[in-house]
Symmetry: C2
Subunit: 344 residues, 2 copies
DNA sequence: CTGAAAGCGCTTACAG
DNA sequence: CTGAAAGCGCTTACAG
């Protein structure tokens, strides 16, 4: 065993060096400021802190967790970490967690119910204080279940039922795209709607369709097609939309990667994005602006969503009121949606 | 405090139910198979296991870690988790870790020396058994330092010095691209070389240049430009390459995202990838095949690299011999590099 | 095959 | 302001 030896000193070592009891050292080093105050004179406290620095003291989190029954550990579930959207959300979670002295770990559920259960069970066996789910399904049976077991958790990116959630205002984001397409004069439009179980796709689609309905345009169901949230899924969905006889002149993909797939599908049919067919995506991923044909997209505050979800969970853990939050999206118009409908 | 109460039984509860000592329960439930064998009769063992199942026993990892001084925790450092390459490598690490009953957590270092130190220190204070670095810098001063402190670690994706590492054979990958360009007849070529401190960029570039040299073509230094590993970086680098009077007819970007940026730069100049200028990337990310102009790229086994790195670290922790591994890349030719040099 | 005991490094109620 | 003690849930050398 390549062991690393005694890298960190213990409270006891410091107590012996400073000639005080370990309980005093504990209160000075790891207690609340008030605890530290009343635990030792300024002089003693200072001496303890110096010994701690000299001996490279770091509290042993396993010992503390065992004693306090608080692990300062948060489990995070996402569909796939290699999805940039979730990776960015997780970065937000992790940054906020670090600020609050919490540790997080993340696992993929691949949007599979069995994996969600299994990973949650695993997190619980690791004694997490709480969980953040980035993979909620709109039906929410699983979540109701574990809420019933008093497991503290919040949702991020996707909402479900009345569980506390931090999301983008996806409904509003969908409306923004509709507004934009309407201004350009498009009335024959299509939607690449994402997974039917994800609130993101559902709300973005609903917002879009509602805004069109308000403008007096009913988008037929045949022009709303579900898809995976990736380029291959977007390509397949776009192929279906473009094959219909009355081809849409504008397509809203509820995800940037799906939009990139749609761009490819257009090209295969000899159609030019932003000329023959307008395309808009969602999330404004860093790639959107850098594509050969820059992609119109709805900016969503992915990093901030993650950070706020972590802070919402902290409130849940503290027993404070924890209301869901909906962050504001913003439309970013680029070359992929510059065209009015062709004069066909 | 929204506490979750007693979710899991303890050894003691099981011992009382089964009418045996907790040490026996421990050996049966958590010991090695041999331990379990000699710790109790088949009958007693069976009874203990039934009680464990009935009471939903899960060993408390904090208690076990405190006692054994082994946390089964691995810290992982990456430049950015929102970089798809690293996210995929991490998925490989995490999958392998789960198979071995280890927990991992991941942190961004943003390729900054100060953050590398700080995050490593944080991981150590969490009492990880070892570390995996996906953010090694070729100079390796920091790594030499912590190797000197006997911290067990391995590298993944990027190599440095003689530290055990699991990488793609990047040199060979660079050669594959050169071979391909040479077959098409390109002699005026450019390289978007990535960060100067990353072995990935260095080795891919060196392999490419060496193969050209062997073919009797010396690529001038002015046609090798460094870049960030993202689309914006690739676009900036491509702009520089295309501005020179003797424009390259083929460009190798050592990263798919940089290649996508280069695609955009070409288009801005009215050049068609795969017609006027050939483009190749690296990693064969899922997007490459789905782009409007599908991208030629070198496939690297990102997920497998991660899994193997975890297993290499396990060997290091066990004190077994741990040799570096270089996984084999493969060229995937697509439309972005179909052209011979223009007859200018 | 089984048990009793010690101890990992903390925290915290109690006492002074 | 400071200390002594108990105990969180495990593992493991020792003894029988």
């Amino acid at each position: 065993m390549a062991r690393t030896g005694q890298r960190h000193a213990t409270l006891r070592a410091i107590a012996q060096s400073a000639g005080v009891d370990v309980s005093t050292v504990s209160r000075v080093l790891n207690g609340s400021p008030e605890d530290a105050q009343r635990a030792a004179s300024r002089q003693t406290a200072e001496e303890i802190r110096q010994w701690a620095a000299r001996l490279n003291y770091r509290p042993n989190p396993h010992a503390a967790s065992l004693r306090t029954r608080r692990s300062n550990l948060i489990g995070v579930l996402v569909p796939r970490l290699s999805d940039l959207v979730l990776a960015t959300v997780y970065e937000g979670i992790e940054d906020a967690a670090a600020r609050h002295g919490m540790t997080t770990f993340v696992m993929n559920s691949r949007d599979q119910a069995a994996e969600q259960r299994e990973r949650t069970e695993l997190a619980l066996s690791r004694r997490v204080d709480g969980l953040i789910f980035g993979d909620a399904h709109i039906d929410g049976a699983f979540l109701d279940d574990i809420a019933g077991q008093q497991v503290p958790f919040v949702l991020v990116n996707r909402r479900a039922g009345d569980h506390p959630a931090v999301t983008c205002d996806d409904y509003e984001g969908g409306r923004l795209v509709a507004e934009h397409f309407l201004e350009l004069g498009h009335t024959r439009v299509g939607v690449i709607a994402g997974e039917p179980f994800a609130s993101t796709g559902i709300d973005r689609t609903t917002g879009f369709l509602d805004r069109y309905r308000e403008a007096g345009v009913d988008v037929p169901a045949s022009r709303v097609v579900h898809s995976h949230f990736d380029a291959a899924g977007g390509r397949a969905a776009a192929d279906r939309l473009l094959r219909s006889r009355a081809r849409p002149t504008a397509i809203f993909a509820v995800n940037d990667f799906a939009a990139i797939g749609a761009l490819g599908a257009l090209r295969d049919q000899g159609l030019r994005p932003g000329h023959d067919v307008a395309i808009a995506g969602y999330n404004d991923t860093p790639l959107a602006a850098e594509l050969p044909i820059p992609l119109t997209s709805v900016r969503s505050p992915m990093h901030e969503m993650g950070a706020r979800a972590l802070e919402l969970l902290l409130r849940v853990l503290a027993g404070e009121p924890a209301a869901s939050e909906r962050l504001t999206p913003a439309l970013v118009v680029r070359a992929s949606s510059e065209n009015a409908p062709a004069a066909t």
